[in-house]
Every structure is written in C-alpha cells, then in structure tokens.
C-alpha cells in the first residue's frame, strides 16, 4: 500500500489546481473506465432519483396538470384556468389568504422577534443554556401533540380562561377557538410555543459568531445597552436573521398539523390557511382540481419565501 502511495505523490504534485471532484480529476488515473464512467456513477444516485422522481416529482407535475381539470374523484373535465378564476372569487379562499398572511406576520412578530430577544437575553447568562433548553423542548414535540395540549389550554373551560378568571380579568375570558380572528391568533400563540426555541438556537449561533474585537472596540468607545444591540449586535446578526426569517415564513406557510387537530380549520372554515384549504377541498369536498390549484398557489408563495435564504448557500447559486 505504501508503495502505490509513493508512486502517487509525483502525480499529485503535477496537478496544480485541486478540484472538488476526485472522480473526474483522476480520469487518466488508475480507476479509469472500470467504475468511473458517468453512467455507472449515476447508478449511485438511482435509488434516490427513483424515490423522489416517482413519489414527489411526478406527483408535482401531475398536480400542476390536474389543476386544469374539474375533478371530483370520479369524473374529470378539462376546464383550463377556471379553477384559478374561481380562486380569485372564492370568499373562503379570501379568508384563508387573510389567515395565511396573519400567520406569516404573527410568526415574524412572535417566534422570530421573541426568539431574538430570548437569545440576546440568555447569551452568556448564568443558567442561560438551561433556559434555552426549556424553550427548545416543545420543538421536539409534534404539531399534533402540541395541538392536543393547547386545546386543553384554549377551550372555553380551559386553562387560559381559568387563569384570567383567577386574576380578576373574567371580562377577557372568551371562547378562544370559536370566533374569528381570536381563533387564528390563539393558534399563532400555540405555534409560537412550539417554534420559538429553534429560532433562539439559531440566533445564539449567530451571536457566538460575532467577532470579539468588534464588541470590545465598541465597549472601549463607551457603547452599551440598547445602542450596542441596535448598532453592533443587530447588524452583525443580519445573515442569520435572513435565514431565520425565511425558515420561519416557510414553516408558518406549511403549518398544518397544529391547526387541523385544534380546529380542523373551523368553525365554518374561519381558521383555515391555504395549507388547510387545499386539504379540505381535495380530500373532504373532493374538489381535486380546485385543491391542486390552491396547492400550486401555496407552492409559489413557499418557494418565493425559501428563495430568501436558499440562494445564499446553494451549489452553483449566487453566494455573495
């Protein structure tokens, strides 16, 4: 073995520019032809391509195509863009869009902003790690379990109303899940309980990456407290903030389990977001084509939001 390695050395020295793909780089080397042809390399990716191709990529395009049909599961008739025209006129979809926007805004306001505050507050704090651990814990719990726990908190005889009564705020007690917009707002709070922790973790990673000397230099100049946060911490966290905001928006758009188990989108579809509207239309009302159109609209929004953070770090992408 050491013999072959020693013959290898001059060969490596001759190739001055290191490449990332050793298989291609040593095309003239020892293993050429035997296993290194492009076709046989693709065999390594074949299982993944088969799974993804048959069960995700094909259904994706089938959905796009299916959104052009009026399809009730039994009969299907080509209607062109009618489903999309219906989307624009559907009052339920209007409410669903408003709720979706509320979810996105609420996610930026609560899990992201509160997450940032908690990360800054617990950073370098005694027991700060323990506090972070408690707040991240719900992240390991599923959306369905979170919904079960919060249903218990939010029903009319639930813990929230009980606490309001106990502190003399009976007037604020109400059926949180039965009226719009309280039901969507309550759901966002339940989502906050689950999702804030991960943002705290991400922001803490960002805080750790801030160069010490910048903070020390600012200290020497007498900067502290709010202006430290405003002029040093926040700008230094910019890159991480983009990621957190992008991921939070995408997750809020995809939120399904929590809402479905807590309210099923009701009462009378008042707490539906686009993710639920698609499911109800396609699998409860058997408006399969219409559901596919909703899914496509949701996908376009999700991909646009993902682009916020994805373009930074993809191969062949613009990393600037």
């Amino acid at each position: 073995m050491s013999e072959t390695l020693s013959t290898a050395r001059p060969l490596r020295a001759r190739r001055r520019i290191p490449t990332r793909t050793p298989g291609r780089a040593s095309g003239a080397g020892a293993a050429r032809g035997r296993l290194g042809s492009p076709g046989s390399s693709l065999l390594w990716a074949a299982p993944a391509l088969a799974f993804v191709g048959i069960l995700l990529v094909y259904p994706f395009f089938r959905s796009v195509y299916g959104s052009l049909f009026a399809d009730n599961g039994f009969t299907s008739e080509f209607v062109g863009l009618d489903n999309y025209v219906r989307l624009a006129e559907d009052p339920i979809l209007g409410r669903s869009l408003i709720n979706t926007v509320m979810w996105v805004a609420g996610t930026l306001l609560l899990p992201v902003a509160v997450g940032l505050l908690i990360a800054v507050a617990t950073y370098r704090m005694r027991l700060g790690n323990l506090a972070t651990l408690v707040i991240v814990l719900p992240y390991a719990i599923s959306g369905a379990s979170t919904a079960v726990v919060w249903k218990f908190m939010l029903t009319s005889g639930g813990a929230v109303n009980q606490v309001l009564g106990a502190v003399g705020l009976e007037s604020l007690a109400q059926p949180w899940l039965l009226e719009w917009p309280q039901n969507t707002l309550s759901l966002i709070v339940a989502g906050t309980w689950q999702a804030t922790g991960i943002n705290v973790v991400l922001f803490t990673i960002g805080l750790r990456a801030i160069p010490r000397d910048i903070v020390e230099a600012a200290h020497l100049d007498g900067v502290s407290g709010w202006s430290m946060f405003r002029h040093i911490t926040l700008p230094q966290l910019r890159a991480m903030t983009v990621v957190v905001v992008g991921m939070a928006i995408v997750n809020s758009l995809k939120a399904f389990d929590l809402i479905w188990v807590l309210t099923q989108g009701g009462p009378s579809r008042s707490s539906e977001t686009l993710a639920l509207t698609m499911y109800r239309e396609a699998f409860r009302l058997f408006h399969v084509g219409y559901g596919s159109a909703v899914a496509l609209v949701l996908s376009v929004i999700v991909v646009a939001a993902s682009w916020l953070y994805l373009r930074r770090q993809m191969p062949g992408g613009t990393r600037d």
């Binding site: 072959t4 290898a8 990332r20 793909t21 050793p22 080397g29 020892a30 293993a31 290194g36 693709l42 065999l43 390594w44 990716a45 993944a48 391509l49 799974f51 069960l55 995700l56 990529v57 259904p59 994706f60 959905s63 908690i118 507050a121 617990t122 704090m125 408690v134 707040i135 814990l137 719900p138 992240y139 390991a140 719990i141 599923s142 369905a144 379990s145 079960v148 726990v149 218990f152 908190m153 009980q162 991960i198 973790v201 991400l202 990673i205 960002g206 991480m240 990621v243 957190v244 389990d257 479905w260 188990v261 396609a282 699998f283 399969v288 996908s299 999700v302 991909v303 953070y309 770090q313």
Partner: protein, 270 residues
C-alpha cells in the same frame, strides 16, 4: 437594573413555556372519570398508569406506536442510506451536471406536501398501496431522503478530495471507498441526518391521514388525532396521556442527542 430586567424576562419566558408542559403532566395524572371540567393545577390522584393503559390499548395508540417506530427507524435509515449514495455520486463521482441532479433531489423538500398529495392518493389507489404499511414506508423514504441528501452532501463537500484520490490510486473500487472511507468518516453527519428524519417521520400527520385509514396501518399522530375526537366527551386525562406517550420517543431522542439533532436543523443556516 438592566440585568435584573433581563433575568426577570428570561424567568418569565421559561415559566410561560413550562406551564403547558406542567399542566399536561398534572392532568394526565387525574383519574379519567374524575375530571371536573376545569384543569387541575396540582396533582389530584395518581391515575397516570390507568390513563396511559387506556390510551395505549383501548384507544389503539399502542398499536400505532409500534408501527410508527417501524416507519421512523426503517424509513429514516433507508432515506439516509439512499441520500448518502446520491450525495456520493454528486460530490465524489464524475456525474455529468451535478448541480442539476442536486436540485432535482433537493426540490423534494422545497414544496409543501399539499403539492404531492392528490396525485399520490390516485397513484396509491391504482397501485393498491393505499392503506398499506409498504405504501406509507415508500412515501416516507421519498419524503425524508431530499433533506437527508442536503445534510450529507453539505458535509461531504468538506472532505478533502485527496482522501478519495489516494484510495483510487490504490485501486479501491467506488463501493469500497464509499463503505470504508466516506461512511465511517461521516458517521456523525449520517447520525444527525438519521435523527432528524426519524423525528420528521415520527411526527408526520398529513401523509398518515391521507394515505391510510385502518388502525393497523395508521401512524401514531393519526392515532392521537382519532383519540382526541373519540375521547372528547370523557375529558382530557386520557387524551393528554396519549399526547404524553407519542411525545416520549422524540423527547428522548432530543434530550439524548441534542447536539446531533440541532445540527440537522442548523445546517441550513451555515
């Protein structure tokens, strides 16, 4: 003063976050028939074993628990293996247009599940995969593989290509290079991907309720949802006990492998 305010803020947040967990545990202790209609704030009785038993056997969470364990372990492992092989192809081997293949596989995690559901349902009905364990396992692998691929690929690009080159010059085959060099060197990265996908499959509800119906196929979150509506009248203790049961595996995984778990989540931020 600033420090006191900060401590107060953190303590308040921790308290707010603990209250739901505390109520979950305390009220799962209440005897199933003895629920008063309002939440208990102090333990009343110790019927937790009874509640757990009712949720586990009578409400059928137990059966789904074991099935979901199968789904999460097998599909997590298969997805990571499939993803690691694909990453090996894209990063190490002379695949033409690696960026194209990357995006093709990675696109599986970009879109919301809703985009795939309706055709998947049709496909499964035609192929007799609807309401079968095999069907759910196939879709879980497909669903878990793209992000695992992303994680593994990211780590694989950080490995010095000289290692592979040296092995190739020694005449090692690609299969040997993959199993003897890449898999051992990346064991922590593969572990992180597995833990992440295990949790994702375990916590799935949407695919479960869309592609299965019968109790012996349904994953555990679907069973929890059934329990949630079936026991709505008899009160929360049994339902909360069910929520407790289904949360134990992921909480354990999280507490035991916190570093690996968070590596999966934070990989996207680097």
């Amino acid at each position: 003063m600033g420090r006191a305010l900060r401590n107060l803020f953190v303590a308040g947040c921790v308290l707010l976050w603990l209250i739901p967990l505390y109520l979950l545990i305390v009220n799962a202790l209440t005897p199933a028939g003895g629920y008063t209609g309002t939440p208990d704030w102090a333990p009343r009785g110790f019927a937790v074993l009874d509640n757990l038993r009712i949720a586990w056997s009578e409400a059928g969470v137990g059966e789904s628990f074991l099935v979901s364990l199968l789904y999460a372990v097998v599909c997590g492992a298969v997805a990571v293996l499939v993803a690691a092989m694909a990453a090996f192809a894209v990063v190490v081997l002379p695949v033409p247009r690696p960026a194209f293949w990357f995006w093709l596989i990675y696109s599986g995690t970009l879109f919301p599940l809703q985009m795939f559901l309706a055709p998947l349902f049709g496909l499964y009905a035609d192929a007799n995969l609807y309401d079968t364990r095999l069907g759910l396992m196939l879709v879980y692998v497909a669903w878990a593989a793209p992000f695992a691929f992303f994680l593994v690929r990211n780590q694989m690009t950080t490995m010095p290509p000289e290692i592979t080159e040296a092995a190739m010059l020694d005449g090692a085959s690609f299969r040997r290079i993959f199993w003897r060099i890449h898999v051992p060197l990346m064991s922590s990265g593969l572990g992180a991907a597995f833990i992440f996908q295990f949790t994702a499959v375990w916590n799935d509800l949407l695919l479960g309720i869309t592609l299965s119906r019968s109790p012996e196929v349904q994953p555990v979150m679907a069973a929890l949802m059934t329990l949630n509506s079936a026991y709505a009248s008899s009160g929360p203790p049994v339902i909360l006990a069910g929520a407790l049961i289904v949360s134990v595996p992921t909480l354990l995984v999280f507490l035991l492998f916190r570093g690996l778990f968070l590596r999966g989540v934070t990989a996207i931020a680097r």
